[in-house]
């Protein structure tokens, strides 16, 4: 099976029409569905949080059959993810897209579990520690995108599970858990 790094590509990745935005409605629906799932799977396994449309994204090209998704096609598939709540545009020009292979709510739950698993219910941590500290190594939180992390933390703050406070420097925000 063809691979992209250590990611196993599906067989239909070699079907040339897969890379042309189909005009016929039923065909298009199926195509969009396949691409949505492929993008999510790939991002999840490769821990990719942001896709830049104008950058080279390995998933969007297949050099074996010499096909590349057009800009229009990329935007169409990512917009479909956005409509489903599985992605968000980071700019009005739709040049960068935040991929939520876990929804914000799911990340929030992962954080809660992380806190419980490590007995951090009443402690204080910096935001940076959550994403790159020793405790998070090997967990899903390791290397999480900062924007997503902040959104999940804010969601938990609204629920009263923690409090976010500013630290001594601009990027040294901290979290006081009160779970």
């Amino acid at each position: 099976m063809q691979k992209l790094g250590d990611f196993k590509l599906p067989h239909f990745f070699n079907y040339p029409p897969y890379f042309t935005l189909q005009p016929v409605r039923d065909t298009r629906e199926k195509q969009v569905q396949l691409w949505k799932e492929l993008i999510l799977d790939y991002c999840r396994t490769q821990k990719i949080f942001v896709i830049g449309l104008e950058e080279e994204f390995p998933l969007f090209s297949n050099p074996v059959i010499e096909r590349t998704l057009s800009h229009e096609a990329r935007e169409a598939f990512l917009s479909a993810l956005v409509s489903e709540g599985r992605a968000e545009w980071l700019d009005k020009g739709h040049r960068k897209c935040l991929i939520l292979w876990h929804r914000i709510q799911e990340w929030a739950d992962i954080i809660l579990n992380f806190v419980k698993d490590n007995g951090l219910e009443d402690s204080v941590m910096t935001v940076e520690e959550i994403r790159s500290g020793t405790e998070s190594r090997g967990t899903e939180l390791s290397g999480i995108d900062r924007t997503i992390l902040m959104r999940a933390l804010k969601l938990l703050e609204q629920k009263g599970k923690l409090a976010i406070f500013k630290g001594t420097s601009a990027d040294d925000e901290g979290v006081k858990f009160s779970i």
């Binding site: 239909f12 079907y15 005009p23």
Partner: protein, 446 residues
């Protein structure tokens, strides 16, 4: 023998000019012309008359200096079945120019016509006057070929494929080498002088012809003015008390008025709304007949634009406009003809045989795209064109239609615009990592 018995008579004005039929236009004339037919005793003696060629008839009028008492008569161009090329022989050089045509006469030999049992006789036109007989002959061909009279006739006829012949039959000098006595004028200064005179007379006659065309144009303009006036009056009268059935039949609805406005460019009477203009009916039938052979050659489907070109080229004169063509095709729904107009989603319009089946085309396309090499690389419009035996543009339309039905899907790349068998329905979204054998999937698709 009185001509009135055999040839249709011609009404003359008080000044001796012929009364023309509606739409009839004069084209050319020759003086001192004999019309004779050796084969038919019933054919009248027409000697030394003025021969006028119109779009509808050959009119022979006795010249005032003529001693014969035969009345003015006409030969309808519609009764002419063939025009012979003038023979160029040594003998013809010394004689008056002449040409012959074949005339259809009724079985009892009593009149002109092409009914059952009719036969053909040869009529000879002998030009004894000084006119340009070659130019007249050329115009004779054109008028006969143009078949203007058919536009006026209700009975459908299907002879649009007239022979294509070059204009003037012979290549000899205008002005000619003959005197009215038939002697060859060649020698000396007098010969040159005579040649000069001939040229002047020929020019003079051309001017005459030109003015006659102008006259014809003027009478058309007069018709337009009459029409416009009629319409104006009707529009003004609008909701008057005469709202009976007859008024409706006469005028019809506002829609008909609009159609009438459109048809002012065409010399045709507007009848009922549903029947459409007579002109278009005729054209519609002619077109259906004409298009049969080109359709066969093109594999059953032709682009409408190509039909427009080919049809007009065959007509030669009296070209039709694109609107005429479109209207003629849309009238086919009302007749029982084996052809139809079809509009693709892309807007391309074609004419195709009614028997041309889409399903059959799709089956052939499917077979083509599921071959081992086309499974991998797809097909282009040209590939499909070769298999289907039709033009690439037509093939593309079929491919696009097959795509819209979900049979094919597209692949656009630097390699071009290609189509593949549509495997999307076969791909299992839940088994992204399952082994998908494209070949077995395509076999399932059959």
């Amino acid at each position: 023998m009185a001509a009135g018995k055999f040839l249709p008579p011609v009404e003359l004005t008080t000044s001796g000019r012929p009364v023309l039929l509606p739409n009839e236009i004069e084209c050319s004339l020759l003086s001192s012309v004999d019309l004779e037919s050796d084969e038919l005793p019933a054919f009248p003696l027409l000697k030394s008359g003025l021969l006028i060629l119109t779009t509808h008839r050959l009119i022979w009028i006795p010249e005032s200096s003529s001693t014969t008492t035969t009345a003015a008569s006409a030969i309808p161009l519609s009764a002419i079945t063939h025009i012979f090329s003038p023979k160029k022989s040594l003998r013809s050089m010394f004689a008056s120019p002449r040409f012959r045509f074949q005339l259809s006469v009724s079985s009892d030999g009593r009149g002109v016509g092409s009914g059952p049992g009719s036969r053909s006789v040869v009529v000879t036109v002998v030009v004894r006057g000084k006119g340009d007989s070659d130019a007249f002959y050329g115009k004779f061909w054109e008028s006969w070929r143009a078949r203007v009279w058919e536009s006026d006739v209700v009975v459908s006829s299907s002879s649009s494929n007239s022979q294509l012949v070059s204009g003037s039959g012979s290549g000899s000098d205008s002005g000619g080498l003959y005197t009215s006595q038939g002697t060859l004028r060649m020698a000396g200064v007098s010969g040159i002088l005579r040649k000069e005179q001939e040229m002047w007379e020929s020019t003079d006659k051309s001017l005459q012809d030109a003015f006659q065309d102008l006259n014809a144009l003027m009478s058309k303009a007069k018709e337009m003015v009459v029409l416009a006036e009629k319409m104006r009056l009707k529009l003004l009268s609008g909701t008057n008390s005469q709202t009976g059935a007859t008024a409706d039949e006469e005028m019809g609805s506002k829609q008909e008025m609009q159609d009438w406005l459109l048809s002012v460019g065409i010399a045709s009477p507007v009848t009922k709304e549903t029947a459409g203009a007579l002109y278009h009916q005729q054209l519609s039938r002619q077109l259906a007949d004409f298009v049969r052979i080109p359709l066969e050659k093109a594999g059953g489907v032709i682009n409408l634009i190509d039909v427009y070109c080919v049809f007009n080229r065959a007509r030669g004169t009296e070209l039709i406009s694109p609107e005429d063509l479109l209207q003629a095709c849309s009238l086919w729904e009302k007749f029982d003809v084996p052809v139809m107009l079809r509009k693709f989603d892309s807007g391309v319009m074609v004419i195709q045989n009614k028997s041309h089946s889409d399903e059959e085309v799709f089956a052939r396309i499917k077979t083509l795209v599921t071959k081992p090499d086309t499974l991998r690389s797809g097909i282009s419009a040209s590939d499909a064109a070769m298999t289907l035996g039709i033009a690439p543009a037509m093939a593309k339309e079929h491919l696009l239609t097959a795509e819209s039905k979900g049979i094919l899907c597209r692949d656009i790349s630097p390699d071009g615009f290609r189509f593949f068998i549509n495997l999307f329905p076969e791909i299992d979204p839940n088994g992204v990592y399952s082994v998908l054998d494209i070949k077995t999937a395509s076999l399932k698709a059959h």
